[in-house]
């Protein structure tokens, strides 16, 4: 966090929530980023991600009971793919945080949080469908939008569309 910066009230709430998580997990998390639109932190030790998620949901002072979104991102420059989870505490503390989790670009996997927030079930499938990272422990890990026998992961920045699909020409 930059010193001397005046934070808005909602970012202050997020920072306080981060402090509680940081107290428990310490070095497994990155520093807090006080981005005004989306305050976030990154999970460094990704094997701890489900544990962190459960802690965020169940801790009496956090109660992150609502996953608003889980999006995939291609960090091509870092040779990584990842997810950004927007998590909120609806009707309890009204604070929100975004969490980033990254894994290697080819053959990488991220532990699933589908049993923590059920929203993550389909969203993780979508991230897998578009970016190709696997979610270990997911109850139903298969494509959700593209056909099951589609080749490649369309939202990767170096994606090239296949020539034909079942004998039908795909490119223009």
């Amino acid at each position: 966090m930059e010193e001397g910066k005046v934070l808005s009230q909602s970012v202050q709430l997020s920072a306080a929530a981060y402090a509680i998580i940081h107290e428990k997990f310490g070095a497994a998390l990155s520093a807090f980023d006080s981005n005004e639109t989306m305050p976030f932190f990154e999970v460094i030790d990704i094997s701890l991600w489900p544990e962190i998620a459960l802690f965020m949901r169940d801790h009496p002072k956090l109660r992150f009971n609502y996953m608003a979104c889980l999006s995939g991102v291609d960090f091509q420059a870092e040779d990584k793919v990842g997810i950004v989870c927007n998590i909120e505490s609806l009707g309890q503390f009204n604070h929100k945080l975004a969490v980033k989790v990254k894994c290697p670009r080819s053959g990488g996997s991220i532990p699933s949080v589908a049993y923590v927030w059920h929203t993550a079930n389909w969203h993780e499938r979508e991230a897998y469908d578009m970016f190709g990272m696997l979610f270990t422990g997911h109850p139903d890990m298969r494509r959700i939008l593209c056909p099951d026998d589609w080749e490649g992961y369309p939202l990767l920045k170096d994606y090239k569309v296949q020539e034909t699909y079942h004998g039908i020409k795909v490119p223009y």
Binding site: P154, Y159, V170
Partner: protein, 189 residues
Amino acid sequence: MGLLDAAITKHNVLVTSVDNVLNWARLSSLWPMGFGLACCAIEMMATNASNYDLERFGIFPRSSPRQSDLMIVAGTVTMKMAERVIRLYEQMPEPRYVLSMGSCSNCGGPYWEHGYHVLKGVDRIIPVDVYVPGCPPRPESLIGGLMKVQELIRMEQIGVSRADALKKLAEKSVDPQFVIELERKAASA
């Protein structure tokens, strides 16, 4: 005055050709298959509804391909849907007609370059008789396209192939440039 108003009394005879009667019957009850794929479908439904009232042409959507004469491909055809569109087309009894409605089903529309999941023109998988341009086309355009299908049916004869009927239709068509110029002149005057 029409024939019915002219008080035709008994013992009258009307003479016409079988082709004419068949064509008149078929083009007056074009039943499209009721399915829509994207925003064009909203426009198609609006055309079916009371403001534009397609039923005055005898056009009435059917819920089964087995009862349909016409397939209006209204919207974006994805690769996943493409195979289903082929299946539906094959389930329609002949003679059948296909109207491609809107840019997406004509050529891929806004998805032509980066839409990995979109079929770039439904004519890659099934033969299309009439293309209606627009994104989405207004109900007037769709009605124009349906009139074109009716004209095509009017060109058909027993023993004449669809390709020849389409050729005859093309010969009879008016060059739109002439009409556009005429309208422009009228507007400036």
